[in-house]
Structure formats: C-alpha cells, structure tokens
C-alpha cells in the first residue's frame, strides 16, 4: 500500500476493484464501511456483488477480465470532462501525452459492451472518483489475470491523473492476502532480486552482499514458480525445497503440479502439517506455527511488526529459522545466530528500507518501511515528497481479452476467491471445527437465473470440467453473481477449484490467470 490502513478514514472517495475486503481483509473492510458512514463516497467494480456493494454509491458489475477497459474508460472521461489534476500531471509526471492518446478511443460507449455495463455508469464512476481525494483498494481480482501487471499499471495511471499519489486519503493500495507476503518479497524470496528489491547484478549491491555473506552470489536469473514446476516435469530441476507452502492446492492446474512434484529426485517440505504437498516429499521437516517462534511479519501497509513466541511447539518440531541455520551450517556457511533479532540486524545492514529497524525499536509498535536510519520513525505515505523515481511515469496500457475464452465445449467462465471462514488451502482453518461448521465443503455459486436455464436446483451435486480436469461440487444459488459466471472458493481439497484453473501467464511477471477458467457444468451422479 502506498498509504496506511489508518489513512482509510481520510479518503473522500474509496474505489474498491477486484477485492472483497469484508471477507478477505475484514478489519480494513470495517474501516471502509465506517469511512462510508462518515461521508466518504464508495464505488465498487467486481463481477460479483460483495458485502460492501450494499452501501456503495455505485456498484458496477463488470464482465470478468475487463478491468483495464473500465479503468481506461474512467481515465477517458476524467480527461474529456477536465476533471484531471493538471498541476500534479505537469509537476510530477511524464509521458502524459501518450496516456491521453491511448485512452482516447476508450469512450464510455466503446467500453460499455466490453465490460457489460452502461456507458453512463462508467461516466458516473469516473466523476465520483475524480470528485475528491480518492483511495484505490485492489487485490487478486486485478492481478490474477493474463494482463495482471497492466491492470495494476492502469490503476496507477488513474491515481496519477487525479494527483492521488503521496497524499493523505489517496494512494494505490493493494490488499495483500497473506500475513507476510510483503515481507517474503522484501526478503528477496524472488528469483530476480535480493532484499528490498535490490538487483543482484548491480555492482554495489553485489559487493555489499558478498561482503556480508562472505561468498560469491549467483548472477544467473532464477526461475519463477511456473518455470520451476515445468523444470521439474522436464527433469532439469531435480531438488525442490518447499517451506510453508502447499502448491498442490494453491497453484493452478493441480494435475500438472502433482506430476511436477512426483518427477523430482528429491523433495524437501518444511511445514506444520502433513499437507497435500508434504505427502509427496522425500523428507518432511516439522516446523513451528507463528505462536511458537519469534520473528517479524511485514503487513500490507509495509509495517514491520513483531511475532512473539507464546507456547512451545509439539514434539520434536523446531523453529524454522533454527532448521535453516542448521542446514546452512552443515552445508558450509558457518554464520550462527543466537536469536532472530540477530538475523534482523543482518537484514538491516543489507536492506536500505529496513536499515532503521531493530527488535528494540519495534518492541511496542511496528514501523512502516522505508526506515532509512535508526532514528527514522517510518514512512506512512509513500511518494509524499513527489514520486520516488523523480517523475511519475504514465505507462499507457491497452485492454486485452483474457487468454482463456469460452468455447463450445467449455461455454461458461469460472472465477474464484476466498470466503470469510477459511484461509487459503485450509491447512489451518480446516482444523478449527467452528470454522468448518460455518463453511464445511466446496461449492460453486451460480446466479438463480442461470441455474434455472441449466435446470439445476440449489444444492445440486454437479460436475465441473475444464480443459485441465474435472471436479464435483455443490451448487449454491447466489443472486449477487453475474449471470453465466460461476464462482468457487479455492479452499477445499475435495472439489478443488485449482484442478480447473489454467497456466496462462502474465508475460510481465508470470502470475497465472487464476481468475478466469472456461468450464462446462453437468449433473453429477453419486
């Protein structure tokens, strides 16, 4: 997030797109609802009606995969009606002319049939967005598309056109789905960067790390998850070490992942439960849950906060950092740490954004990075003194249809997400009986009108097939889902949505097009 969670209350307009905060980030959802009650205007774009839609000023139910067309359409209207922030554009941005040229054809009349919404609604949405200090909230509904990166870029264009960057109540705010997805990226858990997104081919960066680590660091670009899985299938990747992930359920095309994992010479899985992934391992290492170890997580607003040990772990389980240190020591790196705080000190030495962070400084309250030195109090709003790169760049992007399209064999589109009561692959929430009582099994949401056309009853057992595979699940009638579109939560191993999802990737970052699958539906006979 460019802005903080507390800043929600300062927004005059809140634009939620591809995100369902009341279920997936409930505390932020509560704050959005309160901001709305206190007078903020709320606009929402989603193919599926969400809880917040009920009190929104405008809810646009757009066709799956058409975000960029809508956003370009909004920018078109803003420019056409002179609602842009001319001063901000002039002072703080570059390449505006290019953006203007590209969005010119995205008239509301052109966009309306693409998105399946009325032209006037697009105009109204743009006008509301431009009517005051506006904050954008988005999540995987923007990113899990073949054009996911461009979706984010188009939101950045929208925010910049109205000068909503670096100011209170503005910003572009991705709601990150996992407790430490921000931190895992910050820590260099990515194939192309070291900590703090530093480029390992940069000579200064390379030197800094080689001095700290006392060894040469690799320069060959690494592989992304989809490439790793393909590499496993083709036997170029022979050994895979998976810590705290369950790709069998969370990654697209489950049959492909199963084949990849089973092709490996050696699979190491470190986890707290015997997950569907761990079941296929050669060695399983019993790790510790969050309440059984010390450390830090970095939240969606870049706040680095303490994780504290409350209880001991079961049996012989060990803190993950101890397991990794032991392995590293046995393999020839002799650095030892007495406590995770010492690891944080090392992180601070090599990471500009974390330089001012220490366990002592975040004992009472976390700090929002960048924290460039030990007296710095953190950065609640990014780009507050003008865009960090100097000028904000307008990178105009075109709408492109999803890679996956309906066909004669697969005439419907399926999208997916989470529900309030479960988290991801249910490794944890599936073991909490009360949560299971609320949401016990896989289901597919279908609009009652579509349901009648198909001749299914609410609760009917159905078979859903895509080009990748098939599952059986139960129908749940929901008026809030668009006609002819299906929605499934991806939590459940039995009736798993990711058997159906495909591996079309975003060319820029490699995110799979998880939100769009073409499927067929038939009755399932027990």
């Amino acid at each position: 997030m460019t802005n903080g969670i507390e800043d929600v209350e300062n927004a005059e307009v809140i634009f939620v797109i591809g995100s369902n905060p009341r279920e997936n980030h409930p505390v932020i959802g509560a704050k959005i609802k309160e901001a709305k009650r206190n007078g903020a205007r709320l606009i929402i774009a989603d193919p599926r009606k969400i809880d917040l839609s009920n009190e929104s000023d405008l809810f646009v139910q757009l066709k799956l995969g058409t975000n960029i067309a809508l956003i370009n359409g909004m920018i078109h209207v803003i420019i056409e009606e002179g609602l842009e922030d001319k001063e901000y554009i002039e002072t703080h941005t570059e390449n505006y002319r290019n953006l203007k040229a590209v969005v010119e054809k995205y008239t509301p009349e052109h966009v309306a049939p693409i998105c399946g919404v009325k032209a006037d609604e697009i105009r109204e949405m743009a006008r509301i967005y431009a009517s005051g200090r506006a904050s954008i909230f988005y999540a995987m509904g923007i990113t899990q598309h073949k054009t996911g990166t461009n979706g984010v870029i188009s939101l950045s264009n929208l925010a910049q056109v109205c000068g909503n960057i670096g100011v209170k109540g503005g910003g572009i705010n991705p709601l990150r789905g996992q407790n430490n997805v921000q931190g895992a990226c910050d820590m260099g858990g990515l194939p192309d960067v070291l900590t703090g997104s530093q480029d390992y081919t940069n000579p200064g960066v390379k030197q800094l790390f080689e001095e700290e680590w006392g060894t040469k660091i690799p320069q060959k670009p690494g592989l992304t998850i989809p490439e790793i899985m393909d590499g496993a299938c083709s036997n170029t990747i022979k050994c895979l070490f998976i810590m705290g992930e369950n790709p069998m359920l969370s990654d697209p095309d489950m049959n492909h992942i199963r084949h990849a994992l089973d092709s490996l010479d050696f699979l190491i899985v470190q986890d707290i439960f015997l997950t569907e992934t761990a079941e296929r391992a050669h060695v399983v290492l019993p790790a510790r849950a969050f309440a059984e170890k010390d450390g830090t997580f970095t939240n969606t607003e870049r706040r680095v906060q303490r994780v504290r040990k409350a209880v001991d772990g079961p049996g012989e389980s060990r803190e993950d950092w101890l397991i990794l240190m032991e392995l590293m020591n046995r393999l020839g790196q002799d650095r030892k740490y007495a406590h995770p705080g010492e690891i944080m000190d090392e992180i601070a030495r090599v990471t500009p954004q974390y330089r001012g962070i220490s366990y002592e400084r975040i004992a009472k309250a976390g700090l929002q990075w960048p924290v460039p030195h030990k007296e710095h109090m953190g950065t609640p709003i990014l780009h507050a003194n003008g865009p960090i790169r100097g000028k904000g760049y307008f990178c105009a992007v075109e709408y492109e249809p999803s890679a996956e399209q309906v066909s004669a064999n697969f005439p419907y589109l399926l999208t997916n997400g989470r529900n309030l009561y479960h988290y991801h692959t249910r490794t944890m929430t599936g073991r909490v009986k009360e949560l299971n009582e609320k949401s016990p099994c896989s289901y597919v949401e279908i609009n009652p009108i579509t349901l009648r056309k198909l001749g299914f009853e609410d609760g009917a057992k159905v078979k859903i097939t895509s080009a990748r595979g098939h599952i059986t699940t139960r129908v749940k009638a929901y008026e809030g889902i668009m006609e002819e579109l299906f929605f499934m939560p991806f939590h459940f191993a039995d009736g798993a949505a990711n058997v159906l999802t495909g591996t079309n990737l975003d060319e820029k970052c490699g995110i799979p097009e998880l939100k769009v699958s073409a499927v067929n539906i038939e009755p399932a006979f027990a």
Partner: protein
C-alpha cells in the same frame, strides 16, 4: 494547559481531555464498564454509560468520562462520596445478575467480579431469575442476556467499529440487555468477528469451548503478537497458561485498532491440533516414516551434495513462504544464494 488539584495534589494537565483520561494519565485507575478510548470521537445515536467512573469535582459527583477537564478543578477520585456511589451502582447491578461465578467461564476475567471484590460488595438482595433464553446458536460464542449489564460496549463495537450492526439493547421485564437483530445469531447477518466478545466486561458474551480451562484464568499470561492470517497485520493478545493458548483478543495497539475478524479471534485453535507434525519424516520403501533430526539433516546434506556434484546449482529450486517470518525468508534465500548458488527462489506472491 490546565492546572487542577487531584486528590490534594496540584497537577498540570497538558492536553484537553476528559477527566477520566487525565486521571488515567496520572496513573489513577478509574473503574468503568463502558469506557473505550475508541468511542471518544465517534457519535452514537444512543449513549449508554455505566456511571461507575464517577468522581467528585468541586464537591459534586460527576461522570469522569464525559466531563471535560478545566482549569482550577478540584478532583477527588476516591472520596467517601465517590466510593459510596460506586458501591450503590455495583449493588444495583448485582441485584439482577446471576451469581453463578463458581461455574462461570468469565470468572477471573470478569470486571464485575473484580470491582465487587475491590469495593467490598459483600451481600446483595439478588433477585435474578435468569429467565431470558441464552443464544447458543453460533459455533464461536454465546450470548447470555441474563448476565448483561447493558453497558452498551458490544452494541457500539458491532454497529460503529465493525459496522455490522446486529446487536442492540432492549428491555425485558425491566431488565436492560443485549439482543440480536434477527431470531438468533445463526439467522442474523453476524460475521462472527467476536469483537463484541472481546469488549464484554462480564460473562454475557463468551467464547465457546473454553470450559475446563477456567481455573487457569488467574494464572494466564498475555503475549502480544501478529496474526498469522491475512496481510492486515492485526495485533493479537494470546492468552497463555501452561503452554496452551486459551484465547485470543485484539491488542490495544496496532493497525487493527482493537478489532479482529473471525479467523484472528477464533482461528488460533489449529496450533495445538493433534495432526501437527511432531518428528521429521523420511520416505522409506514408499512410506513416510518417523526419523530423528540428525537422520533428516544427514539425508538432506548427502542428497544436496550428490546432486550438486552431478547436476550443479541450477538443478535446485526453493519455494519460500509468505506465511513464515522475515527472518526465515531471509535465511531461506541466503541458503539458496550462498551454499547452493542459485537464484531459483520464488514464493506464492506470484499467485
């Protein structure tokens, strides 16, 4: 800046605030059932107050939560008159409150119990009939209106902080108590966040499934940590006794401002689950079998060394975790980039 006299001491209060806040700032504890810092700048259609925060200001009894500090005030926080008023409030509540403290799951964490002890409420003309039905329809918590003291905290939190608005105060046979919009919790629009449970000062709103652990209440410790679910980073207070987590509630600080969702409040129960992995496992004859750490480490180092020699570093890849700590993620990529020598590291941020 305000110059006041608190319990005979000349005191300077730097910022405008309520008398209650000023007293708390001076280290004087003021009892209250309904006070919550988060309510200060919020407006509610129906104000409820318990009156227990009463103090003597310039000789008159005033509620300290709603009286703004002003220059020259003479404040007595525990004069005889104050104590007497507080006692009468507590006696009035107790008159209509079930006295099953021996078996009540709130015992040890109940403000009513604590204050009655502190103010020496030894006997009461208790006439509570416990006639109101208990709502046990939610798997997470129950509502016992008989134990409600109508402080209104849960109603405000549900309606104006969580913004779900399913609780309200009503009156049955002269008793004010909390009630649910809809027949029961199960039929209501309740999202089970449990924020009402977290603020309830008595046993009216109680998490289920904590029976049998009550005796440990008096010796629980609180450990503040960060929730393990979504990216909001809510600060959680875990209640711990004898190496067991007995409950979770929102910490007073952090981005969540004292709120949690259903997973943060009730989803900690996987931690001590019997399915947890307890020893390393090594695959032998197709079966995962229990092993020692030494055996597991030895096998891993042997395999890694062998494959390094035959296939080189690019035959290795690692998936690190958005669920693990920063320190663990840092070590994981360091392991791959140093001892193995590859950048083949990724995690599910890409998904």
């Amino acid at each position: 800046m305000f110059e006041v006299i608190i319990n005979g001491q000349k005191t300077i209060i730097r910022e405008e605030s309520s008398v209650l806040r000023a007293l708390t700032g001076e280290g004087i504890q003021v009892p209250s059932f309904c006070y919550d810092e988060r309510f200060i700048n919020r407006h509610f259609p129906e104000e409820t107050d318990c009156g227990l925060c009463v103090v003597e200001i310039d000789g008159k009894l005033e509620k300290s939560c709603s009286t703004v500090i002003s220059d020259g005030m003479v404040i007595l926080s525990d004069s005889d008159k104050v104590i007497e008023r507080r006692k009468s409030i507590l006696e009035k509540i107790i008159e209509d409150h079930p006295l099953d403290c021996i078996v009540c799951d709130k015992a040890g964490g109940c403000k009513l119990q604590d204050y009655c002890y502190e103010y020496g409420i030894e006997k009461s003309s208790n006439s509570c009939l416990e006639a109101l039905p208990v709502d046990g329809s939610s798997p997470f918590f129950s509502i016992d209106p008989n134990k409600c003291i109508a402080c209104g905290k849960c109603v405000k939190v549900c309606g104006y902080l969580q913004n779900t608005n399913i609780l309200f105060l009503t009156e049955t046979n002269g008793k004010r108590h909390v009630a649910v919009n809809g027949e029961t919790l199960r039929e209501s629009a309740c999202g089970s966040c449990g924020n009402c449970v977290s603020v309830c000062p008595v046993g009216a709103l109680l998490p289920k499934g904590i029976s049998g652990t009550r005796a440990d209440r008096w010796k629980t410790e609180t450990v503040q940590t960060t929730c393990c679910y979504c990216g909001v980073g809510c600060q959680i207070d875990l209640k711990v006794a004898e190496n067991k987590i007995l409950g979770a509630g929102p910490a007073a600080s952090g981005p969540n401002d004292g709120l949690l969702c259903v997973k943060g409040k009730f989803g900690y129960k996987f931690i001590g689950h019997s399915d947890r992995l307890k020893t390393p496992l090594i695959r032998q004859n197709g079966q995962l079998t229990e092993a020692t750490w030494d055996e597991a480490y030895a096998l891993i180092t042997e395999k890694i060394s062998g494959l390094m020699a035959s296939d080189g570093p690019e035959a290795f890849a690692g998936l690190t975790s958005a669920r693990c700590t920063n320190e663990e993620n840092y070590l994981f990529q360091k392991l791959f980039r140093t001892v193995i020598g590859t950048n083949n590291i990724d995690h599910c941020a890409r998904l």
